[in-house]
Amino acid sequence: MNIAMSTVGLVRPLTLLFFVLPKLFWAASPLYAAASGATAGLNFDELISALAKRNPEVASFEETTFSAMLTEPLKTRGQLKFTPPSRLEKHVTDPYEERYVIDGDNLLFESKRRRVNKNLSLDDYPALRIFVEALRSTLGGDPITLKRFYRTTLEGELRRWTLMLRPLDPASQALVESVRVYGEGHRVTMIETRTPDGDGSILVLTKVVP
C-alpha cells in the first residue's frame, strides 16, 4: 500500500508537466501568435489540395495518450503509412507490436501478442471513424469531405499551420470534441485528438528518411 502511494506521488508532478508542456509550447510558438487572426495568404482549399498525396507516405510516430483514468500519459511508437486514397496503416512497434490497417470501411486489427487477427467494420467504431476520416481527407486532399463532416478552422501560415476539425453531427460530437492537425508547409507534423471528457492524444509525426 505504501509503495503504491509513493509511486503515485512521484508520478503526479510528471503528469502535470506533461499536460502543461504542450500548452506552453503552443503559447510560445509563432503559430499560436498567427492563430489570433493573421491567416492572410493561407487558403483552406489551396492548402488541402496541396497536401494531396499521390504516392504512399510513411512517417514515424510517437503517440501520447492522456486519460483521467491514468496517473501518467501512455506512449506508443511506430509507423504510420498512408496510401492514397483510403488506406491507412498504423503499425505500433513499441512497447508492443500491433497493426491496424484501415482500407475503405474495413479495419484489420492484428496483435501477435494477444493472438488477435480480426477484420472489423469501421462502422462499429464511430469514434475511430471520425479520426480516420479527418486524417484521410486531410492527407488525401479532399476539402469537400472535410467540410461535409467537420466545422473547419484554419489558422497560421503555410510555414506553420493548424487545422481544427470539429464534427458537425451531434452523435459524433459526443465522441470526439476536436481533431487538430498541425502542419509545416505541405507536411503534417502532429495530430491532436480531444474527447469531450477531457481525454485525448497527441500524435507526433516525423518523416522517415528513405
Partner: protein
C-alpha cells in the same frame, strides 16, 4: 311428392347449417402431424418456430446513401408499429436498457469465468491489457467499461455472442456487398402461418416504406420469407379457386349444352351437385371442426364428377318409360360405379395429409349425397316424357367401333413399360420442394437474401431433449465441448446453442461462486495494480459490482423476453408436449456421415442429429408409401366388390384389365412428360380407377337393343368428357399439388375411356 318435400326440408335445414360452417384460410391447418418425434418437432418448428416468422427485406433502386436513409426510417416506423418482435437493419439492436441489463449479468453470463479470474496474477494481466487498450485506436470504445469491468467480461460476452457471419455494412447499416441493396430482417409477433396477421404486418411494412421512401423514384422494396410466401400462396390459391371454378363451370355447361341442347337437363343436373356441395361442407365441418377454403374451392371442382349420375339417367331416357322406372333399371350398374368411385376418393381421405383428408371426406360425402339424390329425388323432378336430344350420336358409333383394335392396348402397355424402364429419370419424387406451393423463383429470392444477410437456411440441427428447461440447458452445456471438437476437427464450421445466451442455473451458480469476497478482491486488486498507471480508487465500481453480483438472482428466460436476446433463445429453446428441446443449428457441414458417426459416438440418448431436408423428404416418402399401400388395398377392395357383384373373378378381371392398363400407360405418359411421381399422383390414380370402373361397368352392361347401347355410350362419353374437362382445368393450375392431381386424373380418365372402349365386351343382341 313426399320425397320432394322431405328433400326441400333437408335442403333448407342444410342451408342453415352450412351458414354456420367455419371456414379457415390458415395454411397451417393443412399440415400433417408427423409420425416420428423428430418429424413432429420439425413440423412444430415449421409451424410456430422463429424461423417461420422471419421477413427478409431488401431495398434497392436508389443510391446507397438514400437507401440507408430509407432503411433507418423504415426500421424505426416498423419498430413503432408493435407488430414485430424484432426489426434489424444493422444499427444497434439493443436499447440502452437492454445493454444495461446484460451488463449487470456479466459475471453470470461470461463464458470466461473461472476460478483464477480474480487472482492477483490474472487481474494484473487483465489490467495490463486495459492499459494497452487505452492507448490503442479503439480506446474510445472500451474506455467507459474499464472502471466497472476491468477483467473485460462484458466484451468477452459480446465477442462470444457476435454472429460469425454477418452482412456487409455501409454507414452502419446492412447492405449487400455491392451496396446496391440495403437489407433488413424482421420477426413478426404472429406465426408465419397466420396468414391474416402476416398479411396485415406486410401491408404495414409496405405502407411504411411508401411513407419513408417519399419521392425517391425507383426505390423499391422486396419482401421474402415464409410468412410472405404464405400470403402469396393464399392469394394464388384464392385467385385459382375462383378462376378454376368459373372456367370449369363454363366449360362443363357449354359441353353439356352442346351434347344435349337442353337447359332443362342442365338445371336438373345441378340438383344432385348442389346437394353434394352442401352435405360435403357440413360433413367436413362436423368431422374436422372447420372447412378450409382450399377444400371448399377444389372440393367443388372435384365434385364436378357427380354430374355423371344425372347424365347416366338422362342418357337412358327415351320418352317411353318414366324417369323413375329408368332409374330403377340402371341403379344396380350405377351403384357399382358409385361404390367404386367412393373407394377411389377414400384414398384422399385415408392418406393422412390433413388437407387431402378434408378433400376426400368432402368428395365422398358429396358423391354419396349426389348418388342418393339422383336415385330418389331427381327422377321425380324429371318432367314426364322428357328426353334430351343427342346431336352427336355419330361419334358414339365411331367409339364403339374401337373394339376392333383391341390389340392397341397391350401394345400401349408394353411401350409404356419400355419407356419407364428405359428412362434415366427417377420414377419417384423425393424432394419436398416439389410439393411446396412456393414458386422456384421466389425460393431463389429467399435463398439469395438469406445468404446476403448471413443467415443461410439451416440444413442440419442437433436436438437435445430434457424434462424441463434447466435439464435441457444443462445437457446442452454438457454437449458443448463435444460440439467444439466438431468445429476443431473441421466437421462443421460452427454452431449456435441456447445455453450460450441463457446458461443453466447450475452454470450461473458456479460462476457466482467464483466471485470473491470484497476484502479478498480489494487485496488482490491492490496487488495487481502495483506499478500500473491507474488512478487510485478508479476501480471502486468494479468492487461494488462484484459485491452486488454475489447476491444477484439468476438470469431467467422471462427477463429477456421481447429483447433480441430473448428472441434468439426462444427460437432455439422451447417446450412441446411437456418436453423441453434445445435445437442446435449447425453451419458448414463438411461430411455428413462423419457428423452422424460422431453424434452417435457420444452415446447420449437425449441428443440426436437431424438433417432437415432429408427428414422432410422422409416425411414425404412415408406419406407416399402410405398412399401406395392404399392404392393396393383400394384396388383389392374394388376387385372383390366386382367379383361379388359380377359373380366371377374372370368377369371382374375383364372390367379391371382396361383400367389397370390405363393406369400403367398414364403413369408412363406423365413420367415421360418430366413429372416425377409423388403421393399426389398416386392418390389420383385411385381416383382414376374409381372413375374408370364407373365407365367400365356401364360399357360392359348388357343392353336390350343397339339404340339402348348407343344411348348408354353417349352418356358415358359425355360423363367422361366432363370429368376430363374438370381435371384438365386443374392440370393447368400453378399449385403443384393440384396440377399433379389434375394431370393424372385427366390423362388417366382419357385412357380409361379409350381402353374400356377398346376392350369392351359387346354382347348386344341384334334387333
Amino acid at each position: 311428392l313426399t320425397v320432394i318435400l322431405v328433400w326441400s326440408l333437408i335442403c333448407v335445414a342444410g342451408w342453415f347449417a352450412a351458414r354456420h360452417v367455419t371456414v379457415h384460410t390458415d395454411l397451417i391447418d393443412l399440415f400433417p402431424e408427423g409420425s416420428t418425434p423428430a418429424q413432429r418437432l420439425l413440423l412444430t418448428q415449421l409451424k410456430t418456430g422463429a424461423s417461420g416468422r422471419l421477413i427478409l427485406m431488401k431495398l434497392e433502386g436508389a443510391d446507397a446513401d438514400r437507401l440507408a436513409e430509407i432503411s433507418k426510417r423504415l426500421a424505426a416506423s416498423m419498430r413503432q408499429s408493435g407488430l414485430f418482435l424484432y426489426v434489424g437493419n444493422g444499427a444497434e439492436a439493443w436499447t440502452e436498457e437492454q445493454r444495461e441489463q446484460l451488463f449487470r449479468f456479466r459475471y453470470l453470463l461470461s463464458p470466461d469465468m473461472h476460478s483464477e479470474t480474480f487472482t492477483p496474477e490474472h487481474l494484473r494481466e487483465a489490467l495490463e491489457q486495459r492499459v494497452d487498450e487505452l492507448r490503442s485506436p479503439l480506446a474510445s470504445m472500451v474506455k467507459k467499461l474499464v472502471p466497472s469491468d476491468p477483467t473485460g467480461e462484458f466484451l468477452k460476452i459480446q465477442s462470444a455472442w457476435a454472429p460469425e457471419t454477418g452482412p456487409a455494412r455501409y454507414r452502419g447499416l446492412w447492405f449487400s456487398a455491392d451496396r446496391r441493396r440495403a437489407l433488413l430482417v424482421a420477426e413478426t409477433k404472429a406465426s408465419g402461418f397466420d396468414v391474416a396477421a402476416q398479411e396485415h404486418a406486410q401491408r404495414q411494412i409496405r405502407e411504411a416504406f411508401l411513407r419513408t421512401a417519399g419521392s425517391t423514384t425507383g426505390a423499391n422494396l422486396v419482401l421474402a420469407g415464409p410468412g410472405v410466401f404464405a400470403v402469396e400462396a393464399k392469394r394464388t390459391v384464392q385467385n385459382e379457386v375462383w378462376q378454376l371454378t368459373v372456367t370449369t363451370a363454363v366449360l362443363v355447361f357449354t359441353f353439356l349444352y352442346l351434347s344435349y341442347r337442353s337447359l332443362t337437363l342442365f338445371v336438373l343436373g345441378m340438383v344432385p351437385f348442389a346437394g353434394a356441395v352442401l352435405v360435403g361442407m357440413i360433413a367436413v365441418d362436423w368431422v374436422f371442426g372447420f372447412v378450409h377454403a382450399i377444400t371448399l374451392g377444389f372440393g367443388v371442382t372435384l365434385l364436378g364428377v357427380v354430374d355423371d349420375y344425372p347424365i347416366h339417367l338422362f342418357s337412358h331416357l327415351s320418352g317411353e318409360n318414366s324417369a323413375v322406372h329408368v332409374m330403377r333399371e340402371i341403379w344396380p350398374t350405377m351403384r357399382l360405379g358409385i361404390v367404386a368411385t367412393a373407394i377411389g376418393f377414400s384414398a384422399l381421405l385415408l392418406g393422412g395429409f390433413p388437407g387431402l383428408s378434408q378433400l376426400g371426406l368432402f368428395a365422398i360425402t358429396g358423391l354419396l349425397t349426389a348418388a342418393a339424390v339422383t336415385r330418389w329425388v331427381l327422377p321425380l323432378l324429371v318432367p314426364a316424357g322428357f328426353h334430351p336430344p343427342r346431336p352427336w350420336m355419330g361419334a358414339v358409333r365411331w367409339i364403339d367401333r374401337l373394339g376392333r383394335a383391341r390389340l392397341a392396348v397391350p401394345i400401349a402397355v408394353t411401350l409404356a413399360l419400355v419407356l419407364v424402364t428405359g428412362s434415366d429419370m427417377p420414377i419417384w419424387e423425393h424432394d419436398i420442394a416439389s410439393v411446396s406451393p412456393i414458386p422456384a423463383d421466389k425460393r431463389m429470392l429467399d435463398e439469395t437474401l438469406r445468404s446476403e444477410l448471413g443467415t443461410p437456411e439451416v440444413g442440419d440441427i442437433i436436438v437435445i431433449e430434457g424434462a424441463n428447461e434447466e435439464e435441457v440447458l444443462r445437457r446442452s452445456e454438457d454437449v458443448t465441448p463435444a460440439l467444439d471438437d466438431l468445429v476443431t476437427d473441421q466437421i462443421i464450421d460452427g454452431y449456435d446453442v441456447a445455453s450460450r445466451y441463457l446458461p443453466s442455473r447450475r452454470t450461473q451458480a458456479a460462476r457466482r461462486a467464483i466471485l470473491p469476497d470484497e476484502q479478498i478482491l480489494q487485496h488482490n486488486l491492490q496487488q495487481a495494480l502495483k506499478g500500473l498507471p491507474f488512478k487510485a480508487g478508479l476501480f471502486r465500481p468494479f468492487v461494488e459490482a462484484v459485491r452486488e453480483a454475489k447476491t444477484q438472482p439468476f438470469l431467467q428466460n422471462q427477463m429477456i423476453r421481447g429483447t433480441p436476446l430473448g428472441l434468439k433463445v426462444d427460437s432455439m429453446l422451447f417446450e412441446r408436449g411437456g418436453r423441453w428441446f434445445v435445437v442446435v443449428p449447425l453451419r458448414g457441414i463438411s461430411e455428413r456421415s462423419r457428423l452422424a458417426e460422431r453424434v452417435t459416438s457420444w452415446g447420449k440418448s437425449f441428443v440426436s442429429h437431424l438433417e432437415l431436408k432429408e427428414e422432410s423428404n422422409r416425411l414425404l416418402m412415408v406419406y407416399r408409401n402410405e398412399t401406395l399401400a392404399l392404392l393396393g388395398w383400394g384396388t383389392l377392395a374394388i376387385g372383390s366388390l366386382l367379383t361379388v357383384r359380377l359373380g366371377s373373378i374372370m368377369a371382374a378381371a375383364r372390367v379391371m384389365l382396361p383400367i389397370g392398363s390405363a393406369v400403367i400407360v398414364a403413369g408412363a405418359l406423365i413420367h415421360s412428360l418430366g413429372e416425377r411421381l409423388s403421393l399426389f399422383h398416386l392418390a389420383s390414380f385411385l381416383l382414376v380407377i374409381g372413375l374408370g370402373l364407373d365407365y367400365a361397368v356401364f360399357f360392359n352392361r348388357t343392353e336390350r337393343s343397339r339404340i339402348e347401347r348407343e344411348r348408354t355410350l353417349y352418356g358415358l362419353v359425355v360423363c367422361s368428357m366432363t370429368t376430363i374437362l374438370v381435371f384438365a382445368v386443374l392440370a393447368v393450375s400453378q399449385i403443384t399439388v393440384l396440377r399433379a392431381i389434375g394431370m393424372t386424373t385427366a390423362v388417366g380418365s382419357t385412357l380409361c375411356l379409350l381402353f374400356v372402349a377398346l376392350l369392351s365386351n359387346r354382347r348386344v343382341p341384334e334387333v
